[in-house]
């Protein structure tokens, strides 16, 4: 073997693919890792991609680049395909979200009842635009298109809770309540 080694200088340390995959798995919620494991048993693992991305987003609030890379490696779907899908659908969030995600409904009923004014007031109070997050990481703003509670119009969703009817002058109070809740360590 010595002669063979003579023509093979500085042999790189053996590549450990399993260690790389383990590092990927550690970046994802266990539920997503399990979903991927199930999917890879079938003939079309790539068909589980959207479902897996939802699981990751539900657990982590958004899809960070490291998580997208990890999904690609574990599911063995090219990373450019994964990020292509994630950027195609509006429902996937590619920016970190505030602890309180405020979704202003701009469906027909809420709009007629002044949803746009609610939106303007929220942007003014928080100093951020739609799709942005406050620097303290507390609030982010998004728009929704009918959340199915038109009788309460106009409404704002705070994470998974519907708040309504809400008018621009009720906004400062709502925000103050959420700040207090957050200080007490609660999410709701």
């Amino acid at each position: 073997m010595s002669e063979v080694e003579a023509v093979m200088p500085s042999v790189a340390p053996a590549f450990d693919r399993q260690a790389e995959l383990d590092r990927c798995a550690a970046r994802l919620p266990p539920a997503a890792v399990e979903q991927i494991r199930q999917a890879r048993r079938g003939p079309h693992p790539e068909s589980a991609l959207i479902e897996v991305l939802h699981t990751v987003q539900d657990a982590q609030g958004w899809l960070c680049p490291e998580a997208l890379d990890a999904v690609a490696q574990l599911l063995q779907v090219p990373t450019a395909t994964v990020t292509g899908v994630a950027t195609f659908y509006h429902l996937f969030r590619l920016q970190p979200q505030g602890r309180y995600r405020l979704a202003i409904c701009l469906g027909t009923a809420c709009y007629v009842k002044g949803g746009d004014k609610v939106s303007a007031r929220l942007q003014e109070e928080l100093g951020i635009g739609i799709g942005q997050t406050t620097t303290d990481g507390l609030f982010s703003l998004e728009e929704a298109h009918c959340v199915g509670t038109c009788a309460l119009a106009p409404v704002v969703m705070v994470n998974d809770r519907v708040v309504g009817p809400i008018t621009p002058d009720k906004i400062p109070g709502l925000l103050e309540d959420l700040v207090q809740q957050d200080r007490q360590g609660g999410r709701r």
Partner: protein, 601 residues
């Protein structure tokens, strides 16, 4: 009574009408293919015969007669009784509208664009009769991605045809490119919208080759070469890869498949290079060192297979996608890098030059060679690269045209005192080096030398190994060498290579595998001229013609086994010592390491 003795049933046919002409055509073909067979070339943009169907651009619309309905001819198969019209005022207007809308969202910089005169969008706009700009809507704007040393991506010029995405996935299995976002703001880019430099890109340049516009281009090095040529303190030499002599003529309107060795050498000399050297010399040297690696592994019983290492796109793939295989790869530097190393050591010493005065230009069929030249492994101890600038075939052609060299009109280029043969000692080469430029050539060259070294006394030594020739993507063969039977394989196009690696993982034994990143090998490299009219990138016929020129060069050489090269003998005698010896080891071999981001295959 039937007199037919043909056992095979005739292919099913359908009757269709194209532009009023009734035809009986093979079933299962598309309207676009059938029209082509009867001499009508329907305009197209996203369509590529060797890639999957996209149906994205709608330029190839035809009219279903009597319905007023337009269908994409690339995406619809013919059916019994179908009647289409490829030309009517309405259809011509529709195609023109589509291209006008594409142009509306495209920079108006044709005069200063690298693809000017060779741009499919420009040609299409002209042939469809677009003579004015009717629409003035919003224009997309994305940052230019010019950080990579090999490939420049300019999304503003992208028309979203998706050919690059498809070639990267379907031919190379690299899947580096994807369409990101949606609608008007769709962007073709590597994952996360990142730069090419920060991606799984292997720099093969096939995206550059298939792009109809200038959304993908090689990073140009011509300015640096002009500057060096004008610098009296520099001794500027050029080496020319095996595959260039088979393709350079195409850039001047010559038919593919002609050997242009002499005209090419004379033309490069006229550009002002102090010497014109042949990379075939480095290829011969690679064969000697690599066949020694093979023989040593055969004696030691492994590790197998030996994987060739000349193709820098393949080496990037190895490091990013298949790092498990690194210990199997030949440690030989590529022919370009071997030649450059020797130019800055042996040649510089013999000329009494400081290596830093020597400026080495390499004309390569390859975009990835620009990346290889910049790798830290291929630098002098002080940090200067062994290869100072890499020009693609296209860039070299442009420089000759820009200089004003009358390549087309002169049957021979005779610049009085300028000779049209390569300079010694890097000009004395064998047929083995010549065939490096085509798929299967490296393997055949290595087998020629290994067969001679392993043959018993009095045994007949085979010279040509036809079983490894052909331009298809994947071949396997068994060859008898000195009483042993070797299982060898050739893969070009990395998707084919990946299939071989799956076989390896499943336990199949090979002794030697040649891998070339590009389809057809270097003759189909990402830096080769855009195809002549009537042919397309990846066209097997074009690849066959180009390869044919190299086999012709091979047959014309007095010596066809690398180790018989008198130039190499001098090199080892005067400078390197023994093949595989310690100086050869230091100068001619290299190492590889896993590289991120990790590719998925």
């Amino acid at each position: 009574m039937s007199t037919t003795h043909d056992a095979s049933p005739p292919a099913p046919t359908v009757r269709i009408t194209i532009d009023g002409q009734l035809l009986e055509v093979e079933a299962g073909k598309t309207v676009l293919e059938v029209a082509e067979q009867v001499g009508i070339r329907i305009p197209r943009l996203c369509y590529h015969p060797d890639l999957s169907l996209a149906g994205a651009c709608r330029v190839c619309l035809v009219e279903l007669e009597g319905t007023g309905q337009f269908i994409a001819s690339c995406a619809n198969k013919v059916w019994e009784g179908m009647a289409v019209r490829t030309n009517s005022p309405e259809i011509r207007q529709a195609r023109r509208d589509i291209v006008e809308l594409l142009l509306d969202n495209h920079p108006l910089d044709c005069q200063t664009c690298e693809r000017s005169g060779r741009c499919e969008l420009q040609e299409l706009a002209y042939s469809l009769g677009v003579r004015e700009r009717l629409f003035a809507g919003a224009r997309k704007h994305f940052p230019l991605d010019a950080r990579s040393v090999s490939v420049v991506r300019e999304p503003d010029k992208c028309i979203l045809c998706g050919r690059c995405v498809r070639v990267c996935a379907e031919v190379q299995g690299v899947n580096n490119l994807g369409q990101h976002g949606r609608g008007f703001s769709t962007l073709v880019s590597p994952a996360h919208g990142r730069a090419m430099d920060d991606s799984v890109c292997i720099q093969c340049g096939q995206c550059v080759a298939v792009c109809p516009t200038a959304a993908f281009l090689e990073k140009s090095d011509t300015d640096r070469v002009w500057a060096a040529l004008a610098d009296p303190a520099k001794h500027v030499v050029v080496q020319v890869a095996p595959a260039i002599r088979a393709t350079i003529g195409e850039g001047f309107g010559h038919a593919p498949g002609e050997d242009h060795t002499h005209k090419m050498v004379a033309a490069l000399r006229r550009l002002g290079f102090a010497a014109v050297f042949d990379t075939d010399f480095g290829a011969d040297l690679t064969v000697v060192e690599e066949s020694l690696e093979l023989i040593r592994r055969l004696e030691a019983g492994g590790p197998f297979p030996l994987l060739t290492s000349c193709s820098p796109g393949w080496i990037s793939y190895l490091e990013k996608f298949a790092p498990e295989l690194i210990p199997l790869a030949s440690t030989c530097r590529s022919p370009m890098s071997m030649t450059s190393v020797l130019l800055k050591t042996w040649y510089a010493q013999s000329k009494g030059l400081d290596p830093r005065q020597v400026f080495v230009v390499a004309v390569m069929p390859c975009v990835a060679k620009k990346f290889e030249a910049a790798r830290p492994e291929h630098r002098l101890p002080e940090g200067d690269p062994y290869t100072d600038a890499v020009l693609t075939t296209r860039e070299a052609i442009w420089m000759l045209k820009s200089y004003g060299i009358d390549y087309w009109n002169l049957p021979l280029l005779d610049f009085s005192t300028l000779q049209d043969d390569f300079d010694s000692p890097f000009g004395e080469t064998t047929g083995a080096g010549a065939i490096f430029g085509t798929t299967g050539g490296v393997l055949e060259a290595a087998l020629r030398t290994a067969a001679a070294k392993l043959a018993g006394p009095g045994e007949e030594v085979p010279l040509e190994f036809h079983q490894v020739r052909a331009v298809d993507g994947l071949r396997e063969a068994e060859v008898a060498l000195g009483g042993r039977t070797l299982r060898v394989a050739v893969a070009n196009g990395l998707r084919n290579a990946a299939r071989l690696f799956d076989e390896l993982a499943a336990g199949k034994v090979y002794h030697l595998i040649e891998v070339m990143a590009c389809p057809g090998g270097c003759v189909g490299g990402g830096g080769q001229p855009y195809p002549p009219p009537g042919m397309h990138v990846l066209d097997p016929e074009l690849l066959r013609l180009r390869a044919g020129a190299l086999y012709q060069v091979d047959r014309g050489k007095p010596r066809r086994r690398a180790h018989e090269s008198p130039g190499l003998r001098r090199l080892y005698d005067e400078f390197l010592g023994e093949p595989g010896g310690s100086l050869a080891h230091t100068l001619l071999h290299t190492s590889y390491a896993p590289r991120g981001p990790r590719g998925i295959r």
